[in-house]
Amino acid sequence: MTLPKVVRGRAWKFGDNIDTDQIIPAKYAIYSLDEKELGKHAMEGVPDRDTWASQVTQGDIMVGGSNFGCGSSREIAPVAIRGAGISLVIADSFARIFFRNAINMGYPIMQSPQAAEAVEDGDELEVDLEHGIIRNFTKGDEYRCEAFPQFMNELLRMGGLVPWVRKQLEERRRMAASRG
């Protein structure tokens, strides 16, 4: 799984402090190992957005406010959003565990207060992940994203924490073999 260079899609706008129980109500944690099923229920806990998942087209983009993904540590939050077909989440800021989980999964997220403020529901966006630029075709605007530390970019580029751990384990095995 490698990161796409450019993503294009419709924006789905959400507010501040969208917490993990709204992203995926805890009752669906029974589907922890089933991304598609989780996706069907994504954002169901946001009041009056309970049919949202059925309206998403594969590749659409989510735009949240500040402290996006606060609350629980459940990794099923970003998994459910991905399962619903969202290709990328942009927010004013992310809660730390949601942030970690997305990066660890190799799932692209971007921090852009500019975009979070300006983008409206339904806008057509194009996101250049390599250069951290968001273009809004509906409004004719362009927004910048905040840069992540290099290690996080590396993780995202290699597909998350899984390939990184595999590499570490291989290294350790090689070291053990050469000692043995």
């Binding site: 402090n17 917490d19 129980d21 709204q22 109500p25 805890a26 009752k27 944690a29 029974i30 589907y31 922890s32 190992l33 806990g45 946001v46 009041p47 309970d50 500040s66 402290n67 606060c70 609350g71 629980s72 540590s73 459940r74 990794e75 099923i76 800021s93 809660a95 730390r96 565990i97 942030f99 970690r100 989980n101 660890n104 999964m105 530390p149 290690f151 996080m152 998350g160 924490l161 899984v162 990184w164 751990v165 595999r166 570490q168 384990l169 350790r172």
Partner: protein, 429 residues
């Protein structure tokens, strides 16, 4: 330049002389925890995707069956089984079966498994609870936990530290829960986002370990990475005869750097609640008194340890739950339940007309045994009241301390405990 407790623990874990806020480090983990919702994905990722065959150190891992256990439905039974099988196959030393453990964040401290100076991670957001015991403890995801299981290490961004200094003493009736709700009300649910909350000041000397755990438990509700407290006599007494490993306490240097210092005169803090639908929606109790209730829930890793149940029992003793209200009491661990039985608290609860359940997370996360329906109003001693947390997105949840919850169950509306009990007995206040 000096370091904070949090920085010292991360520096030691990373094998470095010093670290600064913003540094990314790879640090060794001293203890790791997972439960029935986070172990199944972590186990799968570790074995099938990362290709690891065993846990780095099974003696330093705890697993609890607490979120949807005893299994609330067939799918939860599968998660329970996967959690059980993984723990047994990996030789996890601190595996807590249904009926023998309870909620992770009560079970780990009461068994002396998370200790001063240590770097602790848990695949649950309230893992920050353990920081009251002078360690760095933070919540992580399942892929994170799989990484820790495989390598015994994990990446961390060293957080900026915020210092909270508490002066004076809490007033009668006012508990640590009221204080932390007040603090979160002041700084907001993202007021400490990704940062360390260091709690200090003379007020803490009069706050016992269980109440301290309530305060660090809610660090995540301000968005914090961890909550941490100094080591003192209260910490030492709690750990004597309990700690499973030798430990080395850690202190912040006098010249450590804080991004911001907050000072509070805790004597001015009133009994309070978090109103729907956010933990930072603080209001003094007087502003919401009289609010009609459908359900009162005393439970969770925040406020259902033995001291919490004693205060609830003092309020409920010889009284009845109001008609039209249901009171559900869920102890946070099996040990707490055993102690409550010894002290006769369970009899008091049952006589009052409360439902007494087994130790589980239960209603707190809308799992089972007290899920709320549309439009229902609940007063809860838990930690989080975002929309849908305890059931229907249009249910309304207020957060309070256990004495307020018990008193409100008796009157049927949000009430000051002094309305039903003249004075909290000495030793419980």
């Amino acid at each position: 330049m000096g370091m904070t407790m949090t920085e010292k623990i991360l520096a030691r874990g990373a094998g470095r002389e010093s670290v600064r806020p913003g540094d990314l480090v790879l640090a060794k983990v001293d203890f790791a925890m997972g439960h029935d919702l986070t172990i199944p994905p972590a186990g799968k990722i570790m074995r099938e995707q990362m290709g690891a065959e065993k846990i780095w150190d099974p003696d330093r891992v705890a697993v609890t069956q607490d979120h949807f256990q005893p299994a609330k439905d067939a799918a939860s039974a599968t998660l329970g089984r996967l959690t059980r099988e993984f723990s047994h196959q990996m030789g996890v030393k601190w595996y807590f079966e249904v009926g023998q453990g309870g909620i992770c964040h009560t079970v780990l401290p009461e068994n002396g498994l998370v200790l001063p100076g240590e770097l602790v991670v848990g695949a649950d957001s309230h893992s920050c609870t353990y920081g009251a015991l002078n360690n760095f403890a933070t919540g992580i995801g399942s892929t994170d936990l799989a990484c820790v299981f495989a390598l015994g290490e994990l990446w961390f961004r060293v957080p900026e530290s915020l210092k909270f200094v508490y002066h004076n003493r809490l007033k009668e009736w006012v508990e640590a829960k009221d204080l932390i709700l007040y603090v979160i009300g002041q700084i907001g649910v993202d007021g400490a986002r990704s940062k360390a909350m260091e709690h200090t000041g003379e007020a803490l000397r009069h706050i016992d370990m269980e109440a301290r755990l309530t305060m660090t438990n809610m660090a995540i509700e301000a968005g914090a990475k961890n909550g941490i407290m100094e080591f003192d006599q209260v910490t030492k007494q709690y750990l004597d005869g309990r700690a499973k490993r030798p430990y080395t306490p850690v202190t912040s240097d006098a010249d450590a750097e804080y991004e911001k210092v907050f000072e509070f005169d805790v004597e001015k803090v009133e009994l309070g609640v978090a109103r729907p639908m956010s933990p930072d929606n603080y209001a003094p109790l007087s502003e919401v008194a009289g609010t009609r209730l459908d359900q009162v829930f005393i439970g969770s890793c925040t406020n259902s340890r033995i001291t919490d149940l004693r205060r609830a029992a003092a309020v409920l003793d010889g009284r009845k739950v109001a008609p039209g209200v249901r009171l559900i009491i869920t102890p946070s661990s099996h040990q707490v339940a055993i102690q409550a039985e010894r002290e006769g608290l369970i009899g008091t609860f049952l006589a009052a007309g409360a439902a007494w359940t087994t130790a589980t997370c239960g209603a707190c996360l809308g799992g089972h045994m007290g899920v709320l329906g549309e439009g229902e109003v609940c007063l809860s001693t838990t930690n989080r009241n975002f929309p849908g947390r305890m059931g229907h997105p249009k249910a309304l949840v207020y957060l309070s301390n256990p004495a307020v919850a018990a008193a409100s169950a008796v009157t049927g509306v949000i009430s000051h405990p002094s309305e039903v009990l003249e004075k909290m007995p000495a030793g419980l206040a």
